[in-house]
């Protein structure tokens, strides 16, 4: 990485010492300015209520003045502390502030759980649009639509490697307008207990913020559970008949409607060479790089960074979803995943690759098709190859 020019740092310092502190993490002045503003907003909004408390109703002028001054000092101390965490120690801003906006949701972020990415947000929006259109055309006939139709079954969605819960929760939020209320049934699974509890917290938090549909009486329609998707017990639990009250565990009941996952997809080499420093230093490796032992155990014939896709496609055979969206690292990985998908026992009627910004026009030099065996698979949008999209007939 290029070193920052001293004159540049001096300029930032002239403007504000906070900016100079932030600069090493932000690289340019403009984003340092933005981050400083966000840090300020965060501090002033989180300090405000606490201090109103301190000022009692009897408070005389001096007491109020003291509180105001104290608050000002507290604010400055806080800002300084956060700027140092961010700039000097290189902690991701999302961990410093404890959150990341994701669509209209606010997702809480904590070490141990991956920070939601804008590319993920983009494909979730694209998927929600697609599902809404399909529902409007009547192709997904049973769920949603008519509010009074009590027999309408909810749209079933499964999110594996759910992390902070961002994908599951945003889908729930985006689809609610078309499905009227809580006619979605979403299950999220993650092996990391901190992720599972954070996802639950995010559900509750965004319910309180009223950006998520209220669950129907007594029934939670988004559920996060701890599970290792490679474990045989978990796989076996998927076979249970949902009508069987003794089945316990995850009563998913195939066929489901939508199957999504953003699994760890970075190779060991990619982790060392292509990741950002604050990613390596602060985000969990478990969320980014598939563990070496996995390949040896079950999927010896695929690249180590691709093992999750091999497993995900197996799971898809059991859950029999209509739509599958799997996030990938680049176009080459997308191609390898598609090669696995064409070997599926039951064929997919549609296969696509979506780039980072699926709704944007492709730039010059961006291929709009990849060849898989004898097939031509369309590549949509602009940016890096980001997701593999599969669809099966009704």
């Amino acid at each position: 990485m290029p070193r920052l020019r001293p004159s540049f740092i001096r300029r930032a310092h002239n403007i504000s010492s906070h900016l100079a502190t932030l600069l090493p993490a932000c690289r340019d002045l403009r984003s340092a300015q933005n981050e400083l503003r966000w840090i300020r907003e965060h501090v002033s909004s989180s300090l405000a209520p606490a201090h109103e408390h301190n000022v009692t109703s009897r408070s005389c002028v001096t007491k109020t003045a003291v509180a105001v001054i104290k608050k000002h000092l507290d604010t400055e101390v806080q800002i300084d502390r956060l700027c140092r965490l961010r700039g000097t120690r290189g902690v991701p801003l999302q961990y410093v502030l404890g959150s990341q906006p994701f669509g209209d949701l606010d997702i809480r972020c904590r070490p141990g759980v991956l920070i939601p990415r804008p590319e993920t947000e983009a494909w979730v929006f694209h998927l929600a649009d697609l599902v809404r259109n399909v529902i409007a055309e009547g192709a997904l006939s049973r769920p949603g639509g008519d509010v009074d139709d009590r027999t309408a079954r909810p749209l079933k969605i499964v999110d594996l490697c759910s992390g902070s819960g961002c994908i599951a929760l945003l889908l729930s939020s985006l689809l609610r307008s078309h499905l009227r209320g809580s006619d979605v049934d979403i299950r999220g699974f993650d092996v990391e207990p901190r992720a599972v509890s954070l996802a639950k917290e995010n559900l509750a938090y965004n319910l309180r913020r009223r950006v998520l549909p209220r669950p129907r009486a007594g029934r939670q329609n988004v559920v996060f559970e701890k599970a290792d998707i490679f474990s045989e017990d978990w796989l076996a639990s998927l076979h249970h008949d949902p009508a069987d009250p003794n089945a316990g565990g995850s009563k998913l009941g195939a066929p489901i409607d939508i199957f999504v996952s953003n699994p760890p997809y970075i190779s060991m080499r990619g982790y060392d060479c292509d990741t950002g420093r604050s990613v390596r230093n602060y985000e969990p490796r478990l969320a980014l790089v598939p563990h070496e032992s996995l390949r040896i155990s079950s999927f010896a014939d695929c690249a180590p960074e691709d093992v999750f896709y091999a497993r995900l496609l197996e799971v898809a055979e059991i859950l029999r979803p209509k739509f599958v969206v799997l996030e990938v690292g680049d176009l080459a990985q997308a191609t390898r995943v598609l090669e696995m998908a064409v070997r599926a026992p039951r064929p997919w009627i549609t296969m696509e690759v979506w780039r980072d910004w699926p709704d944007m026009a492709p730039e010059e030099g961006e291929d709009q098709v990849v060849r898989i065996g004898g097939l031509q698979v369309p590549v949509r949008g602009s940016g890096h190859g980001r997701t593999v999209f599969l669809q099966r007939g009704a």
């Binding site: 984003s31 400083l36 990415r117 990741t275």
Partner: protein, 432 residues
Amino acid sequence: MFRTPWVCRGRIKALARPLSRQVLRSASTDAPSSNLPLVLLQRARNIATEHDRLSTALETEFDTKTAKRVGELSRVAAALKEWESAQSSIAELTTLLQSKDEELRQLAQDELSSTHANLDTLANALSTSLTPRDPFADMPCLLEIRPGPGGMEGRYFADAVFRMYRQYCSRMGLRANVLKYEVVDGDEAMGASSESPLQEAVLEVLDAGAYDTFRGEAGMHRVQRIPSTEKSGRVHTSAVAVWVLPSFPENDSDMTAQNFNDPDSLFYVDPKEVKVEKMRAGGAGGQHVNKTESAIRLTHEPTGISVSMQDSRSQHQNRDSAWTLLRSRLAQKKREAREEEAWALRNSVLSKDKITRGDKIRTYNYSQDRCTDHRSGLDVHNIADVLAGGENLVKVMESTKEWLVGRAIEALLAEEEAAAAIAAKEAKKSKR
């Protein structure tokens, strides 16, 4: 008393004059309807007749279109009714003046003066009801604030203007959002008044009717003061441009979506004509990096109008804000084109007064501690209060609005007179 910047016809002077400044007239010196131009009265009567006819029709058969029309006309019909009833009480009272009873005469006299005073107000209300309502009057708005050409001083004052409106909003209980706030050199404030050198700010005022509240603020705001950076104590003159655009916040009501998708709407933007660009960070993206920024730029290709947004941590929010801003700017442009046509048709001296962005509309003079609105001619003191969005700013903004109404009435009159002249010509022709 104050300067009226447009050519005034004597008989409508009273209408254009702000209500608050009207002097009560004595009953004996003024003929009852002297301050309501006959053409306007005629127009009001025609409308009231149509209103009554349609409402009768509605009683027998309901029809949504008719009902809507009745709704539009009722404003005029009601104002006319009030004015006429004041007129008839004047007539009644005048006969009472002949009474032999001394006490009754006195009573009639008192009553008459207050009714006369009231008549002015009613006449004004009637004229106002005849002016076309601004199509955007009920909408929320965007205030865009940018420094005029020239040095840093304009940038600092732009920040002062931005804060003035923000504080005004909070004083008036209006919900305001800062969509964009860009300073030139840093986040830090400089100078005694802690103003920042503003590059551009966009304030969204979400309340319905905000457009009507602020539309008179559009134009060049001039400042005369000694900048805090100025060592020699020389007074600088600089300017700040304020644009006021009607806005449709994306997720508001059903009407919104309808307007976006209706090609006839001013707010319609064909998405195919808009180029969307994202800030591309180099590198692999996705899980590899955890960027905090998500800048977006939209360019409307046919006009070249382009907006960029990166103020929010939320890419979703940046995208929505960018679309809102682009729609508003395009709507403003279309509207100006339409207005241009309408004004060209009128061929009137009034068109000179059309607010263009180049005209200076107001001056903030620090050394005289005075703020002058060049259209209404109103002068207020206490600059600090004006810039804090206080009582004095409220006064200035009100005077501007009254001026706008006066101007609309003038335009209406000019239109009526033109129509009358054409009709007279036609009549002459056919006689020959």
